[in-house]
Amino acid sequence: MSKRFDGDPIDQLRSADPLDRSAVPTDTTGAHARALFQEVISMETMEEKVAAKPRRWARPAAFAASALAVAAMAVGAYAVFAPEEAPEAIVGAPIGDAAQMCIQYEDAILLEQDVAFDGTLVSVEQIPGSGEIDFPQNMATFEVHRWYQGGEGDTVTLDAGILYGEGDSIALVGASLEIGERYLISGTDGFVWACGYSYTYDTEVANHWAELFGG
C-alpha cells in the first residue's frame, strides 16, 4: 500500500495526532482533577525541605566545570583544558548519554535518589527472563567505598538494565558499565540511574556530591 502525502509535513503530523480527545479532560472540574489538586496542595513544600537541608543546592558551578571537562575529553582535547593545579584529578563521564538530554540533570533530582555512592563494579549477574518477563535483568553488585545517600554495608546490588552489556539499546544510551571500573552511582527503585546521575569516577563530581549530600 502506498499513499501520497502533499503539503507541509507538520500538517501531516498534526493529522496523525494519536490523542483520543474524548478521553482527555478539557478542564479541572472532573473527579480526578479535583482529587489531585487537593492531594498536591496538602503536600510538604520545597521551602520546608530546603530548610531541613540547607546545602542541597550547593555548587552548581562545580558541576558545570566538570561537565566542561568531560566535553573536552570527548573531543580529545582534555590535555588543553584540564586544570593545571589539579593534575591528579580523575575525570569521568556520564553513564548513559547525557548529551542526548534523556533527562536533564538537576541537583534536586539527584538529592531525591534512594541511594548515591562511590563504588567499584565487582560483578553482574544476568538473570534470564522467564514467564512473562522474557528479557534478562543485569543485577550489578558494587563494592561501596563511600555512601553519599541511603544504603549501608560494603556492597550494594542494583539493576543496571541496559546500562550493562551489549545490545541494540546500548547505542541509544551511550557508555555502559564495566566490571572493575570505579563509579559514582545513584539509583532509585533498585535501578541505576543514567543521564548524568551516574558517572565513571570523577573527582569534581565526587566533591560536588559530597557537598550536595552534606558529607
Partner: protein
C-alpha cells in the same frame, strides 16, 4: 500554606492540567501511568512554586519530559513486554502508518521537538525552555527536525509497507518504537 500560594497554584493548575493530561496520554500507555506522570509534575510544581517561571507551561513540559524519562526507565521491562504483546501478526495498517513510521525513525530529541510543536502547540521559544537550550538552538533544531521528518516521510511513502502503528511517542531509553 497560604491562600496566595494556593491561589497561584490554582491558576497554574487550571491552565496546565488538560494540557499535561494530553501530553502524557500521547506518550504513555495506560490511564494509571498518565495520572502518575501528571501527579508527579504537579507535585514538583507545588513544591517549587516560587521557581516556576511565567509563562509556566514550557517549564511544566520540561518537568513532564523528565518525569516521563524516569517512568520509561523504571518500567523498562514491563514496557518492553507490552510492546512485544502489541506486536502480534496480522495487525492492520493504520491510517497514519507512514507518518508514525517516519516519526519513529527520528532521534528522540527530534521526535520530542516535532511533537511538542505539532501536537502540543509549542513554538520554538517555548520548546527552548522545555529543553533548557537557547531559543536560537531550538529554532534550528525544529527546522532540521522538520527536514529530517520530511525525508523520512518520503521514504515511508515510497516503501509503503508498514505493518504497525506506534500510537504514542516513545521515550528516551531505548523503548521499542518499531
Amino acid at each position: 500554606m497560604t491562600d496566595d500560594r494556593v491561589g497561584r497554584f490554582r491558576a497554574l493548575y487550571d491552565e496546565a492540567y488538560p494540557r499535561l493530561m494530553a501530553y502524557a496520554s500521547r506518550r504513555v500507555r495506560t490511564p494509571d501511568a498518565v495520572e502518575d506522570v501528571v501527579a508527579e509534575v504537579f507535585t514538583t510544581a507545588w513544591r517549587r512554586l516560587d521557581d516556576v517561571p511565567d509563562p509556566a507551561m514550557p517549564w511544566l513540559y520540561g518537568v513532564a519530559r523528565r518525569t516521563l524519562a524516569n517512568h520509561y526507565r523504571s518500567l523498562d521491562r514491563k514496557h518492553r513486554l507490552q510492546e512485544k504483546m502489541r506486536a502480534e501478526p496480522g495487525t492492520s495498517p493504520g491510517e497514519f502508518d507512514e507518518v508514525h513510521h517516519a516519526l519513529a525513525r527520528l532521534s528522540a530529541d527530534d521526535r520530542e521537538t516535532l511533537t511538542l510543536h505539532a501536537w502540543d502547540g509549542l513554538e520554538s521559544p517555548e520548546i527552548a525552555r522545555v529543553f533548557d537550550i537557547p531559543a536560537s538552538t531550538a529554532a534550528v533544531r525544529l527546522h532540521r527536525a522538520k527536514k529530517r521528518f520530511a525525508r523520512e516521510l518520503e521514504k515511508s511513502l515510497k516503501s509503503g509497507s508498514h505493518t504497525r502503528t506506534p500510537h504514542r511517542v516513545e521515550g528516551h531509553h531505548g523503548e521499542v518504537t518499531e
